[in-house]
């Protein structure tokens, strides 16, 4: 197993470090010899496992590309399975921080996992790069050791709403999404921008995360000219099947989880014509993305989606931050500062940088599902450049308003 291999390497590294210390090598030599420990909190068992496994594949793809070396330091990679439960996440975060003494943590996947450990991470001062949505982690409740190189829940929904109102000319939209923070925040962001652009949200439907049958919820969709869905995991598949089976033809718009490229192989024709906005798109034409996609197809035989790309980019940010900090990660504050000042020109999702909350500023892509040679693909229609979590809003005003929630912005009657 890969893990055993890296462990042995770590032992060898430590032995070298000890030897170096004993023989009084100059101090930098010790720093060079110590491996950089990169931890990953992901979900490899349970219902969230599909995305979680892609996360690990994304990191490993990046590490392989760099031959497990960041800024001249060997990288030891430790992956931990949280099981998708907050208590499990806490235990595994403790394992990574207290037992493995990692220099940085990638993950976790879900917002509730992130919320369970944010205070702990702040206490332990370990840099953490996650793709979980929870808005307030980079807004009203910021954590100085946290970075989000993917997107906040609503970051992709602002441009999606702009596109839906201005280019698709939708007027009356019904939103449907899971009844938890990620869904609330996505739909809130959509509503805010959509209504400012002249549209109106006529109804908001909230099925629970685990819904055996969407028929009763789909039955409530009527009297509108478009639907915005914010489902995650494998729920978009089941929702769209029910939606198509009910004979509904309104155009569907969605965010990064609802139209993820990794889902396309499981979709049928019911997904044709669905619009999505995502911080990563499979057809992005730059070298770094071509390299990434080719490696993923070669090693795992799959098209990467948002989860794999998100973690690939996160690993690239850690690499770049370490280089900026001259390969040093002992001073956590200096290291996290270097991470936040990273400005990458060439990643599979294009250029990215971070705002002063540690949230990404980058390109967002509007795509439509089409059929090419009998295979479903997301075709990019428009790119919004340099989108921040605040969209076009004033930061102070945005933060003074409550966080997007089930009832905010309220439904206009």
């Amino acid at each position: 197993m890969a893990r055993k291999f890296t462990r042995r390497k770590f032992m060898a590294g430590t032995a070298m470090g000890v030897a170096a210390a004993t023989f009084k090598f100059p101090a930098p030599a010790i720093a060079q010899a110590a491996p950089f420990k990169l931890g990953l909190l992901t979900v490899k068992t349970g219902p969230l496992a599909q995305g979680g496994i892609q996360m690990e594949q994304g990191v490993v793809t990046y590490l392989k590309e760099k031959s497990y070396t960041f800024a001249g330091r060997k990288v030891e990679f430790i992956s931990a399975d949280t099981g998708g439960s907050p208590a499990g996440t806490k235990t595994k975060a403790q394992e990574l921080v207290e037992r493995e003494k990692v220099d940085a943590i990638l993950g976790p996947l879900a917002a509730f996992e992130l919320l369970a450990i944010t205070d702990y991470i702040k206490e332990q001062k370990t840099p953490m790069l996650s793709l979980a949505g929870a808005e307030d982690m980079t807004q009203r409740r910021p954590n100085p050791y946290f970075l989000r190189p993917s997107a906040t829940s609503a970051q992709a929904m602002h441009p999606m709403a702009d596109f839906a109102a201005k280019e698709l000319k939708l007027k009356k939209v019904i939103t449907i999404s899971e009844d938890f923070a990620f869904g609330h925040e996505q739909m809130g962001g959509f509503q805010q921008t959509f209504e400012e652009a002249g549209g109106r949200i006529v109804n908001k439907i909230w099925p629970p995360l685990v819904t055996p049958d969407y028929t009763p919820f789909v039955a409530q969709i009527a009297d509108c000219d478009g639907v915005c869905q914010g489902f995650a995991g494998s729920n978009p598949l089941r929702f769209l099947k029910t939606y198509a089976a009910a004979g509904l033809k309104f155009p569907v718009v969605t965010g990064e989880t609802g139209g993820d490229d990794a889902l396309l192989r499981s979709f049928g024709d019911e997904a044709l014509g669905m619009y999505s906005c995502c911080p990563y798109t499979l057809d992005y034409a730059n070298d770094s993305n071509k390299r990434f996609v080719a490696a993923m197809q070669k090693d795992y035989g799959i098209d990467p989606g948002f989860y794999a790309a998100g973690l690939y980019v996160a690993a690239a940010v850690v690499d770049a931050g370490l280089q900026k900090n001259n390969g040093k990660s002992d001073d956590k504050e200096a290291f996290v500062k270097a991470l936040r000042s990273v400005d990458l020109k060439d990643t599979p999702r294009g250029q990215i940088k971070f705002d002063h909350f540690g949230n990404v500023v980058g390109d967002f892509f509007i795509r439509r599902v089409e059929k090419v040679n009998g295979k479903l693909v997301n075709k990019t229609l428009k790119t919004y450049n340099n989108v921040s979590q605040f969209w076009t809003y004033d930061e102070k005003k945005f933060l003074a308003a409550p966080v997007y929630s089930r009832n905010y912005p309220p439904l206009k009657t």
Partner: protein, 322 residues
């Protein structure tokens, strides 16, 4: 029985000195987890082992106490108030559970507790204004009794250990008291107990309350340990997990649930770091226990011990519970 006492004394000594010989904070934290899960398992064992009532809804009670603590703290109350209210709410919920589910025994009891547990899970999940739904409740601080801050892992461990030892002593007193004997009587011969003039329902009801008290205690320790509570904690999986701790260790014994809690926590948290398919391993261990030691790890080991060392002695009266 001196071997047993020696083993217990050694184990106790090991627990008291654990922070000194464990290689790091991480393992001390695992130790704390084993201890509060052991209290939880002891609480369930009162019903499963001594009263013969299998509950599949105990995670609901565990979660109620945890949520009560979190919610009280969120309202701005101090730790003392939060803990006391959580204990009262935990025991009161158990009383409600008992009133509803003690109408039957056997499969009926299992199904009613299962349903009640699922109702509590559903409330935690959907009553968003109270529980925060999937986002859960954060508990930002741990209490600091007598100036010792529980934020320090070692202090937290010792406080958990004290509560754990108190729970074990309390359970031992409970089981060995005349009341404990009458409870086991209702387990083995409810009709005869009834004929002898015992109020079977009332005895079971009191046993439920005691079980609820231990469960609430462990729930409070849990929420202070993770500093976070969300609906997953109340799910059926959690109820099944604690039931497995009791069954694998040996129901109807005091040590069994403790050993079972240790086994499950270690496999779940420590071994899972080395073996990706730890669920499978846990399953395999349980299958092995069921085949080799159907009475549980602790009574099973004791039986093997007797077989190995006391073969030529007079046959010992076995008192394995049914």
């Amino acid at each position: 029985m001196s071997a047993r006492n020696l083993a217990i004394a050694l184990a106790f000594l090991a627990l008291v000195t654990l922070p000194f010989w464990m290689p790091g904070i991480y393992y001390i934290n695992v130790g704390s987890q084993i201890l509060f899960y052991a209290i939880f398992a002891l609480g369930l064992n009162v019903l499963v082992g001594y009263a013969g009532l299998v509950s599949l809804g105990h995670a609901g009670l565990f979660g109620v106490a945890a949520y009560a603590t979190g919610y009280m703290l969120q309202l701005g109350y101090g730790h003392t108030e939060a803990i006391l209210v959580a204990l009262v709410i935990g025991v009161a919920s158990m009383a409600l559970y008992a009133v509803l589910s003690l109408r039957s025994t056997g499969i009926g009891f299992i199904m009613i507790t299962l349903a009640l547990g699922e109702i509590l899970w559903g409330l935690a999940y959907r009553w968003i204004s109270l529980t925060g739904g999937d986002n859960g409740i954060n508990v930002p601080t741990r209490p600091a009794p007598f100036g010792y801050s529980l934020t320090v892992p070692t202090t937290f461990y010792y406080v958990t250990l004290i509560i754990f030892v108190a729970s074990v002593v309390l359970s031992a007193v409970f089981v060995n008291s005349p009341f404990g004997a009458s409870l086991m009587g209702t387990r083995d011969q409810p009709r005869r107990m009834n004929a002898l003039g015992y109020h079977v329902w009332m005895i079971r009801f009191y046993a439920c309350l005691f079980s609820g008290l231990l469960t609430a205690l462990s729930g409070i320790l849990f929420v202070y340990y993770t500093q976070f509570i969300s609906p997953q904690t109340l799910s059926l999986t959690s109820s099944a997990e604690v039931l497995l701790m009791v069954i694998s260790g040996g129901p109807g014994t005091l040590l069994g649930p403790i050993v079972g809690a240790g086994l499950v926590v270690v496999v779940k948290n420590v071994v899972s770091g080395f073996i990706e398919r730890w669920n499978f391993l846990l399953g395999a261990i349980f299958v092995a226990i069921v085949i080799l030691m159907p009475e549980g790890l602790v009574p099973g080991t004791a039986r093997l011990w007797r077989l190995a060392f006391r073969k030529r002695a007079k046959p010992v009266k076995t008192e394995t519970p049914s």
